[in-house]
């Protein structure tokens, strides 16, 4: 079963890095990219992704605020915050917002764990 993954980060390199890891795990899944929260919303309304990976430090609305919004308005989506900012407060706030926290640089293992959880949740939600 394939899923749609939306990757949001203002750095193209960072997006490439995430996609690379995603390709290694699930080459058949759909990848959608956005450079900031506004673009991301556009893509969400058009493409309806199942999973969203957000950068924390973005211009405009920051990743954490956006993550909280997404969890409220599109609660079926799995959201993870991807950031090199590993401060304990950031991690706590991610969790409080209902998003997973993945440290940058993203390793395949960390991504795999998150995706497996996400898929389980999505399967559960559908049935």
């Amino acid at each position: 079963m394939t899923y749609k993954v939306l990757i949001v980060d203002d750095s193209k390199l960072a997006r490439m890095s995430v996609i690379k890891a995603l390709n290694a795990l699930h080459p058949d899944w759909t990848r959608i990219e956005a450079a900031d929260a506004d673009e991301a919303l556009l893509q969400i309304n058009q493409q309806h992704p199942d999973i969203v990976l957000l950068d924390f430090n973005m211009p405009g609305k920051d990743g954490l605020a956006f993550a909280a919004e997404l969890r409220q308005q599109h609660s079926h989506m799995s959201v993870a915050l991807v950031s090199a900012n590993r401060q304990v407060e950031v991690i706590r706030r991610s969790e409080a917002a209902g998003a997973a926290f993945l440290a940058k640089p993203l390793t395949e293992e960390a991504l795999r764990e998150f995706l497996d959880n996400a898929v389980q949740k999505l399967r559960g939600a559908v049935s």
Binding site: S11, L13, K20, Q87, K104
Partner: protein, 221 residues
């Protein structure tokens, strides 16, 4: 001496560099938090490569005549110096942010050199180390030194080999204990270093966009 056009970074390379600085600064935030024991908000809105004259002008334009900088040299495949620059008036502000506001003015003044040195040390180390790591290189990084002065003093450095004309400039916004401090990270690289940097960035981009799961070549290759 103007650099040859080929050395100036492409848009993708600049994107990659920005991301590296971002990663470095995020790492720095994490370790600064250990020092300060409160959440640090650090962000890097912009990274540019400008000529030395333009760099000095940028600093002057912000109406800051007196600056304080923490300076560290680095050596290896890329050599140069890195500076973390703050407006001098903000330095006491920064010290209070690090050590708290309960100390008297005298104590703050006393601790200024050390606080700046350690903060600068953490930030610059994290940035340089992250960059080096991701580019698959190692650098030897010196201990920090605190300097006071103005743009020209920082950027015109004798003796050679720092005869370059380019400065990698990034603004960094820093907020801790409700104090907003804006400073800059500036890195001066000599020309060969800039060319090397460009190549390394290209290689990084290549590695990241490739579909193989090849890993980054080990440090020290």
């Amino acid at each position: 001496m103007r650099p040859p056009a080929s050395v100036i970074l492409s848009e993708m390379e600049l994107d990659a560099l920005t991301e590296l600085v971002n990663l470095g600064v995020s790492n720095a935030a994490h370790s600064l938090r250990e020092l300060v024991r409160e959440e640090i908000l650090l962000s890097v809105p912009k990274v540019t490569v400008v000529s030395r004259d333009e760099a000095i002008k940028n600093l002057g334009e912000r109406d800051v005549k007196r600056l304080v900088a923490v300076h560290q040299d680095f050596d290896g495949d890329i050599a140069g110096r890195a500076l973390l620059i703050f407006p001098e008036t903000k330095s006491l502000e920064l010290v209070r942010a690090i050590v708290g506001s309960d100390l008297s003015l005298d104590d703050i003044i006393e601790l200024e050199q050390e606080a700046l040195a350690e903060t600068g040390n953490i930030i610059l180390n994290a940035c340089l180390a992250t960059m080096a790591n991701n580019l698959g290189r190692t650098l030897k990084i010196s201990l920090p030194e605190v300097l006071h002065g103005g743009g020209p003093e920082f950027f015109y450095v004798k003796p050679p080999p720092f005869v370059d004309d380019n400065v990698l400039f990034s603004y960094i916004n820093f907020s801790v204990r409700q104090r907003n401090i804006t400073g800059y990270i500036a890195m001066l690289l000599d020309l060969p270093s800039l060319a090397t940097l460009k190549n390394l960035l290209a290689a990084l981009i290549e590695r990241t966009s490739s579909h193989t799961t090849s890993t980054v070549p080990p440090n020290g290759h």
